[in-house]
């Protein structure tokens, strides 16, 4: 190969690879562009204040109302239940795996957690609707067959591996010297873990919590299957609710004509969902970077 043709080949390959990388930016541009375009069209017909602060969501009724709050509370209710499971359980298992567990236990537990994280969400939905809800109904007879509690609990199990592995990474990053210092002062393992290691890893652990929250808010199939499709403004975990994601699925399963107001609602709801998760992801990322700087 001559020198010029070699240089030309190298240049072409580098540009082609660069184009692949630049393509990922186009995805973001596409997501934001599509959401903004359809949402703006939506807000031309529905005032933004009605959307954000309205308490009734009946877009398919003849006297349609577009108050998104019931979908938001439904989402937050299920996510809060999921967090109530995933945060303490995830943190405890992270502390155990990082500070206590012998290698033998880790070898068993880590793959199990990986399997839990790899199960498709539609499977968790089945589990919530047809196993957990009937089981809970034997304890709470008033629990309706669609409810926030059961999908919330199952979602907690699904998110647990995420919290556990990210928190464990954070705990691992705490320098051994800090632990040794605590032991040297006569601390027990628990005192060392809870009073020295966990506080030192606090921002890393918070980052994992926030990321878990973002994951819970964006989770779709578990709630679409087991939480119901009744948008209602309630904090009662026993009653059916509809989340933002479940609403998008509901409309997509029906035939809503393109360009109609019903079609645009899913983009407006999608936009809100995107903004919420994006903010949480940024916050998580910021905390993680701050954590890394502390122990770089």
């Amino acid at each position: 190969m001559t020198r010029t043709s070699r240089r030309w080949t190298e240049w072409t390959i580098e540009r082609a690879l660069q184009a692949c990388a630049a393509g990922s930016v186009l995805i973001t541009v596409g997501i934001i562009g599509v959401l903004v375009f359809e949402t703006v069209a939506f807000f031309r017909e529905v005032p933004i204040t009605d959307f954000l602060f309205g308490t009734v969501w009946t877009p398919q009724f003849s006297d349609a109302q577009f108050g998104v709050l019931p979908l938001v509370t439904g989402t937050l209710l299920v996510s809060a239940i999921a967090m109530a499971v995933a945060l303490p359980a995830g943190l405890l298992s992270a502390i155990y795996l990082s500070e206590y567990a012998p290698a033998r236990v880790r070898r068993v537990v880590k793959p199990v957690l990986e399997v839990l994280a790899g199960v498709p969400t539609v499977v968790y939905g089945y589990f919530a609707l047809l196993f957990v809800t009937p089981l809970l109904q034997t304890v709470f007879p008033t629990l309706s067959s669609f409810n926030a509690l059961s999908p919330g609990l199952v979602m907690g199990i699904m998110i647990l591996p995420l919290v556990s592995s990210l928190s464990e990474d954070a705990l691992h990053a705490v320098p051994t010297g800090l632990r040794e210092g605590a032991y040297a002062l006569g601390s027990t393992r628990m005192q060392t873990a809870l009073r020295v290691v966990v506080p030192a890893a606090f921002s890393g652990i918070s980052a994992s919590f926030i990321l878990a929250m973002s994951r819970a808010i964006g989770e779709t199939m578990i709630v679409a299957i087991a939480a119901g499709q009744q948008p209602r403004l309630t904090g009662n975990p026993m009653s059916p609710v509809e989340t933002m994601t479940a609403y998008i699925v509901q409309i997509s399963m029906g035939d809503t004509p393109t360009g109609s107001i019903g079609y645009r609602t899913i983009f407006a709801v999608g936009m809100l969902l995107f903004v919420m998760t994006f903010t949480l992801n940024l916050a998580s990322d910021w905390l993680r970077r701050r954590f890394r700087e502390e122990y770089a």
Partner: protein, 271 residues
């Protein structure tokens, strides 16, 4: 050690130089990693068909300097070079120099042997293939055999050419890397502490090999081992804190150095 080192370098020219022509001429070379200056104002001539050794304490810049001679530092981000490095009178940092052509002419052997995770045969064949140096299988095999013979490893590997290079011992791996470098017929061979990870017997074989190779190649070797420098090299250059303190015939540098600093180093008072 607060005296300026700059003027000391000029004394090098007082000593009688080698009789072979200058192969590599370095003038006013500065090198930076980001903001940090690693080499300061190096000026030295390296002659053809002799062995020149670079010595000095670790971190003195001898390896960095070696890597500027085939522009290996180019692959490290945010590094910068000032000054001139001429090979056969041509500036290797000029915009018309093709770095790929340069590295074909200037072979390199690394401190830690780094055979590719392939067969012994393929390790030597790689350079021939990418440079299109063999037109057919017969020519390829001939060149590979010659390179392995030149690196004094042929007898040990001729019956196991298809085996993975990772199965060789450390010393054999390093000689394979030398064979790999010789296969593309460079003019200059740079060796960055080639024996530092080897046992004494393997080291001795490498040193004998270097002695034989200087008939055909210009060899520059970095070593932290002063006995090794004394054994294998004709010329020696002593570096300290990114500067060239003194260079000259190996024997003179070790027995009658011009600089106090060199004397302290070669007599083991520091480093």
């Amino acid at each position: 050690m607060t005296t300026s080192l700059r003027p000391l370098v000029t004394r090098t020219s007082d000593s009688p130089g080698p009789t072979t022509p200058v192969k590599i001429g370095v003038t006013g070379l500065n090198f930076f990693y980001g903001q940090k200056q690693a080499l300061t104002d190096l000026t030295i001539n390296l002659h053809a068909n002799i062995v020149t050794a670079f010595i000095g304490p670790s971190g003195c810049g001898k390896s960095t300097f070696l890597r500027t001679l085939n522009r290996m530092n180019d692959i490290i981000p945010s590094t910068r070079v000032e000054g001139r490095v001429l090979i056969d009178g041509e500036d290797i940092y000029s915009s018309s120099t093709d770095v790929v052509d340069l590295r074909r002419r200037v072979g390199m052997v690394f401190q830690k042997s780094n055979p590719f995770p392939k067969s012994i045969f393929e390790n030597v064949a790689y350079g021939l293939r990418i440079n299109g140096l063999a037109r057919n299988r017969g020519e390829m095999e001939g060149r590979i055999e010659n390179s392995l013979k030149a690196a004094a490893i042929w007898d040990e590997v001729k019956d196991r050419l298809t085996e993975s290079a990772q199965t060789l011992s450390g010393g054999q791996q390093q000689r394979l890397c030398i064979a790999r470098a010789l296969a593309i017929q460079p003019e200059i061979l740079l060796m960055d502490e080639p024996a530092s990870a080897l046992d004494p017997i393997a080291t001795q074989r490498i040193e004998e090999l270097i002695y034989q190779l200087k008939v055909d190649y210009t060899i520059v070797i970095v070593t932290h081992n002063m006995q090794q420098a004394a054994r294998v090299s004709d010329q020696t250059a002593f570096f300290w804190l990114g500067q060239l303190v003194e260079s000259g015939p190996t024997e003179k540098l070790f027995t009658n150095p011009a600089e106090k600093l060199t004397e302290d180093y070669v007599t083991g008072r520091f480093g």
